[in-house]
């Protein structure tokens, strides 16, 4: 495709080149003349050297006249002599008469070295026979006596052939091809000589050169007609084309000049338009990817041109004719690519089919199925894109026989594979096939050379039949269509059992014509269902045929090859012997087992039981404990099997240790030591351990030379205990060699061990548990896990044992024989949570838990009481001793001497005030209605005063005060001895309160004074006791005190509170007590005149004691230096 395009581009290039070459000959000739001129001038100079001056003058004249005559003369020859030849046999010479000489005055021309070489004539032209090579002196004599001489040589002669005449110029408009035909007139020339032709094609009306081509031929001495074809790019219908031709002869023995002939007269080719078709080319098939030009001949203006739906620019030719040029056209669809020109009043169009030439047929294969015809198949390769009449036609040719077979196409055929049948000729084995594919764009072929006897792929064997010969031999017959008389067939028989086991057997059979073939198949199994099928090839293998249809066949029965496997068990009561046997496998039963015969024989007799039909594989015989031999025989329709025998005697099982084994998956591995005494097979039987006797699930027989086996059964289940018994067989009968209990797979127990608490003490618990039943254990018991921790029932903490909990104590009991456990080091009277779990290799079983409370530990309790008491006593004794020894210091520190209040005049004043009631030591006056009055006992005033220097301003326990009066309980605290007495006060009761007089020993007040402020701070509202004015400024009441102090400063001495106006009688019950929740209320009691604070003489104002008034921490610390 690209080559074609390049070729066409080349075509245009050549044309352009040709445009120049049209003038090139003239130019070349001119150039040649110009180039020859100096040479000629040199020759003239040489001529001047001659003494013949008149001739020289004449020659100069000729030189001037014929200056443009280029190549006619040689050095020393006359310049105006020009000789040409058309055929190298006759020279045609002309010259110009000298100046002043009439051309008609020529008398004769003489050639010097020729006989009779003078030719009379009266013109300046002469035709002479070709001269031999070399210089010839020519003399031209004129009537007037003038003579011109010059040398003539063949080199000076120009060979100019006659103008060629084209015989015929025709055009194939359908293909836009011009055909030119002309005669080379070779008979006129010596031969062989070469001729070069040049043909030009001009396109009208502009006479544009569209093609110039040259080529060589050889003239053979005969006239030969030549042909030249040229396909125009532009459809010939769209423009008139003219063709001209010229030539040039190259004869190597001719040494003169070779000159192109003149162009022949142009011949034209034009198309006569008709009304039917206006667009060209019509229905052309072209190579996809190539370029093509479409033109439209129209009398009216063409509006558009398009290919498919793509509009193309119009190329105006002449008149209204237009063209469009399509580059790289793509493969057309089936119905072709439409090219449409639209004019003002019509639509014209054509269809172009762009596709590919046929691909080389691929995978050409020729073979025969039956030696009647040869089937050749191939793959067409790349699709051509052309269909219908333009599709590829295939022809299969056989060169030896010369036969050809066309391929009949079916349009629905796919491109996958084509097939063609070639009828075989009798006796021909070698074939040379050539398959040729051809379409309008080209052709391609493929060849194969075969010996047909080596290319045999037989048909499928048919009519397969099977015939029994015996229970193990059958014959197969089948029909194979075809003539295979001259070859041997190789056939395969596939034998397939029902168990999908496949076997292929080969058989070589001599071929025949349209025959059936027979083979025997042996070594089959009796009573077995086989599936047969056959395929064939030839000995010189090429291909197998397809497999024939399958044929199923059941071989006939044979007697069972052996007796069934037997075993026996005594019944639990020991009276009956149960005989078990296994059904024979199909390959040993050799037929359908119909029944079994069981017989028992002893030395005395033989007892035959009734026939037992097949599905039953068990028989029970009532025997005495004597030795019997039990025989079991299987029967099918072909006969009975050899008997299987087994002794009835008990099998000793002494001193057998039961072993354990665990399997894997559904298999368990058993091994044993070889025993040379075991002469016949070993037998391993097994049963579920939970089954009752006689226990038999299954058994297997192992050859006596084996020492191990793997027992596998679908009946095995994980977590189930099985008993395995290994019996060895001796001549004396079976002997139990090993007894094994095992699991295929151990599982975790499904129940927890049942445990109880046997004994409980204050520090230990004894638990006891029971065994887990084997069915629920589901594996070999490996131990118990015992957990315990403190815990009450239903306490979340103890509901489950969390792993890793530090409180949990764990005991792993690996001694599975242990059934009790004592847990020691427990705490008395404590609840414990106990858990017990069993485990196997299959995992941990469920847990069982229990809560147990240990008993109380009395000794510990006693110890716990006695030790604190003893410690308290010891501390008390030590403290007493210390106090006793330091009593003086204590006395000085805590009980310094106090002035006697009897010496105070205030007491006298007190007496006068309280004179009305001698019994009363305190004054209670209205409106003060205290609920609680603390009275300082005055019965032993002096000693008491001496002992009670320290006075607590507030000696109230909140609890007691709240109990006494939850509302407002005002207690007038004093420091009496600790005599507590409740006095009824009806008057106070009447006003809704109780009056309580508390006698408080001053010494007992020592301790509460430690935190006076805190107590006030806790409930200041409740503490509304007597507050002497000398109190430390602890709370807001101090302000009152400060006011009083200021007043005292004004008086400059003791001012008793006798001035009742200054008393602040504030009581919760007082009418003036408007706010029960107010701050601490100072209560100035008239009885406070008895207070020692009042008794302190003012003369000691300067001293801290007198200034401070009463006991305080300050005083305490101030007194310390005195210590």
């Amino acid at each position: 495709m690209s080559e074609s395009r390049v070729a066409e581009f080349g075509f245009f290039t050549k044309d352009r080149t040709a445009c120049f070459r049209l003038t090139a000959p003239h130019t070349a000739m001119g150039a040649y003349s110009w180039w020859k001129e100096p040479s000629w001038m040199v020759d003239s100079k040489r001529r001047r050297m001659t003494p013949n001056w008149p001739w020289l003058l004449s020659a100069l004249t000729l030189l001037q006249v014929n200056a443009v005559q280029a190549h006619s003369l040689k050095r020393g020859s006359a310049q105006d002599l020009k000789c040409t030849t058309k055929n190298m046999q006759v020279w045609d010479c002309t010259w110009t008469a000298p100046v002043g000489v009439s051309p008609g005055t020529v008398k004769e021309v003489c050639i010097k070295d020729r006989l009779n070489s003078c030719h009379r004539l009266e013109s300046t032209n002469i035709k002479i026979a070709a001269l031999s090579p070399g210089d010839h002196e020519v003399a031209i004599n004129y009537l007037n006596g003038f003579q011109s001489k010059f040398t003539l040589n063949e080199n000076d002669v120009s060979l100019i052939p006659d103008t060629p005449e084209s015989l015929d110029l025709s055009a194939d408009f359908s293909t836009s091809t011009l055909h030119l035909r002309w005669n080379d007139r070779g008979s006129a020339f010596p031969y062989p000589c070469n001729a070069t032709w040049e043909i030009k094609v001009l396109q009208n009306p502009s006479m544009e050169l569209v093609k110039l081509v040259s080529f060589n031929t050889t003239l053979s001495g005969r006239d030969i007609v030549h042909h030249w074809n040229w396909t125009s790019d532009l459809p010939l219908q769209c423009a008139t084309h003219s063709v001209g031709i010229r030539w040039y002869i190259d004869y190597n023995r001719f040494s003169g000049y070779k000159v192109w002939s003149d162009w022949s007269p142009l011949k034209n080719v034009s198309w006569t338009p008709n009304s039917e078709t206006n667009v060209f080319p019509q229905d052309k098939v072209i190579l996809a990817g190539s370029d093509i030009t479409f033109c439209c001949v129209s009398q009216t203006k063409v509006l558009s041109g398009q290919i498919g739906k793509t509009f193309c620019p119009l190329i105006h030719l002449y008149g209204e004719n237009v063209a469009i040029h399509i580059r790289n056209i793509s493969v057309s669809e089936n119905s072709g690519t439409n090219v449409v020109f639209t004019t003002e009043d019509n639509v014209y169009g054509t269809v172009v089919f762009a596709g590919y030439p046929p691909d080389i047929p691929q995978k050409l294969n020729c073979e025969t199925h039956d030696f009647k015809e040869i089937i050749c198949s191939w793959n067409p390769g790349r699709p051509t894109g052309l269909v219908g009449p333009r599709n590829t036609d295939y022809t299969l040719s056989e060169s030896i026989s010369g036969k050809s077979v066309p391929f009949k196409r079916f349009e629905t055929l796919t491109n996958e594979s084509y097939r063609l049948a070639f009828q075989m000729l009798p006796g021909q084995e070698i074939h040379n096939f050539t398959l040729t594919g051809r379409n309008p764009l080209g052709h391609a072929e493929s060849a194969v050379f075969i010996n047909i006897t080596e290319r045999v792929a037989p048909h499928v064997p048919v009519s397969l039949r099977v015939k029994d010969i015996s229970s193990t031999v059958v014959t197969l017959s089948w029909h194979l269509p075809g003539n295979f008389a001259k070859i041997n067939l190789l056939c395969q028989v596939e034998i397939c059992k029902a168990s999908s086991e496949r076997e292929v057997r080969n058989a070589t059979i001599k071929g025949a014509e349209e025959s059936s073939y027979l083979v025997a198949v042996d070594k089959l199994n009796p009573y077995t269902l086989y599936t047969f099928r056959v395929r064939c090839s030839t000995e010189t293998f090429w291909k197998w045929s397809k497999w024939s249809n399958e044929k199923r066949h059941l071989t006939t029965e044979a007697i069972p090859s052996r007796g069934p496997d037997t075993w026996r068990e005594w019944s639990s009561d020991g009276k009956n012997l149960i005989i078990y046997w296994k059904p024979l496998p199909i390959n040993e039963a050799n037929g359908k087992i119909l029944s079994y015969n069981v017989s028992c024989s002893s030395n005395e007799e033989t007892q035959s039981l009734s026939e037992i039909l097949d599905p039953q594989h068990r028989a029970e015989i009532q025997l005495e404990k004597s030795d019997y031999i039990i025989s079991v025989v299987a029967k099918n329709s072909a006969g009975s099997s050899p008997p299987s025998k087994i002794a009835s005697m008990e099998i000793p099982n002494d001193d057998i240790i039961v072993e354990q084994a665990v399997g894997m998956g559904k298999r368990i591995f058993l091994s044993w030591h070889p025993d040379p005494n075991m002469t016949c097979d070993y037998v391993i039987k097994w049963c579920n351990s939970s089954r009752s006797e006689p226990c038999l699930m299954d058994w297997i027989k192992v050859p006596s030379n084996s020492t191990k086996t793997v027992i596998e059964s679908d009946q095995f289940q994980p977590g189930v205990r099985y008993n395995f018994y290994l019996y060895g067989c001796t001549n004396q009968g079976y002997q139990l060699l090993r007894s094994i209990i095992g699991y295929i797979e151990e599982l975790a127990p499904i129940v927890a061990p049942n445990f109880t608490v046997e004994d409980t003490s204050a520090d230990s618990i004894l638990v006891k548990w029971e065994d887990i039943p084997v069915e629920e254990l589901r594996g070999f018991l490996r131990g118990y896990l015992f957990y315990f921790q403190k815990g009450e029932r239903d306490t979340p903490k103890t509901r489950t044992f969390e792993t890793g909990h530090s409180d949990i104590k764990l005991k792993n009991i690996t001694d599975i024989s242990q059934k009790t456990l004592r847990i020691a080091d427990l705490q008395g009277k404590t609840s414990y949570h106990l858990v017990l779990r069993a485990y196997t290799h299959g995992g941990l079983g469920p847990e069982k838990s229990m809560f147990v409370v240990t008993k109380e530990n009395s000794v510990g309790l006693i110890i716990a009481i006695l030790i604190p008491v003893a410690v308290a006593v010891i501390v008390g004794v030590v403290t007493s001793i210390l106090c006793y020894r330091k009593r003086e210091w204590i006395k000085e520190t805590f009980y310094p001497d106090i002035p006697n209040p009897e010496n105070c005049k205030a007491l006298q004043f007190q007496k006068s005030i309280c004179e009305g009631s001698s019994a009363l030591k305190t004054l209670e006056m209205n409106p003060c209605t205290p609920n609680n009055v603390e009275v300082l006992e005055s019965r032993s005033i002096v000693p008491k005063i001496e002992d009670t220097e320290i006075i607590s301003p507030v000696a109230e326990r909140p609890g007691e005060s709240s109990e006494a009066d939850p509302e407002n309980h005002v207690v007038v605290s004093y420091c009496p001895p600790i005599i507590e007495e409740e006095i009824a006060n009806p008057a106070a009761d009447e006003v809704g309160g109780t009056s309580q007089v508390v006698y408080i020993d001053v010494q007992s007040m020592y301790q509460p004074q430690a935190k006076p402020e805190e107590e006030q701070g806790i409930d200041p509202g409740v503490v509304a006791a007597y507050k002497p004015q000398m109190r430390l400024p602890i709370n807001s009441a101090v302000e009152d005190f400060a006011a009083a102090e200021d007043e005292a400063d004004k008086t400059a001495g003791y001012r008793p509170q006798a001035n009742v106006n200054t008393w602040n009688l504030v009581s919760p019950d007082s009418p003036r007590s408007t706010d029960s929740n107010s701050e601490i209320v100072s209560f100035g009691s008239p009885c406070s005149i008895n207070s020692r604070q009042f008794l302190i003489p003012p003369k000691d104002e300067d001293s801290p004691k007198s200034n401070g008034g009463g006991w305080s921490f300050t005083n305490f610390f101030q007194n310390k230096p005195n210590d």
Binding site: D283, K309, S335, G336, N338, V339, G349, V387, G388, E411
Partner: protein, 196 residues
Amino acid sequence: MEDPQADSPVSFLPHLEAKIRQTHNLARLLTKYAEQLLEEYVQQQGDPFGLPGFSPPRLSLAGLSGPSPSHMGLPLSERLRQDAAALDALPGLLDAVRRRQAELNPSSPRLLRNLEDAARQARALGVAVETVLAALGSAARGPGPEPAATTALSTANNAAGIFSAKVLGLHVCGLYGEWVNRTEGDLSQLVPGDVA
């Protein structure tokens, strides 16, 4: 027979009425088939067939042309006679188109089958119309020699280029639709209670 000049439905015998109705139904069915045929034909010819701007001028087929605008002005029997004549000419034309398409589109079995069916159905409809005409007492033109249109088309098919054959095929398929449609319209005027 009296020419059923009136274009209005008249009362016919039941079997005639059934025949007319049956023929009308056939024509109506073929109208849809003709549309499908034209669509399928255009689709298989490649661009610019089927493009909106492409409308080649009608080619004249000797002996068969499209229904003239004055067709409706003719008496019903004449219209039916023209319908029958056109339907008689169409099968040959459709067969010629099918043969050409078998070369151009051999792998388009549906188009070929539709063309074959169209020829058969046109023939059946033509015969049915002629039967109706005969029943109405208006004899149709008897089956003459091969219609000129068929001959012309066959000649054109062989001589003219493929493009012209495609355009001719398009024209024939269009004519088929037009005549079937026109026949359906003419028959509808005979169907009682089905007057447009």
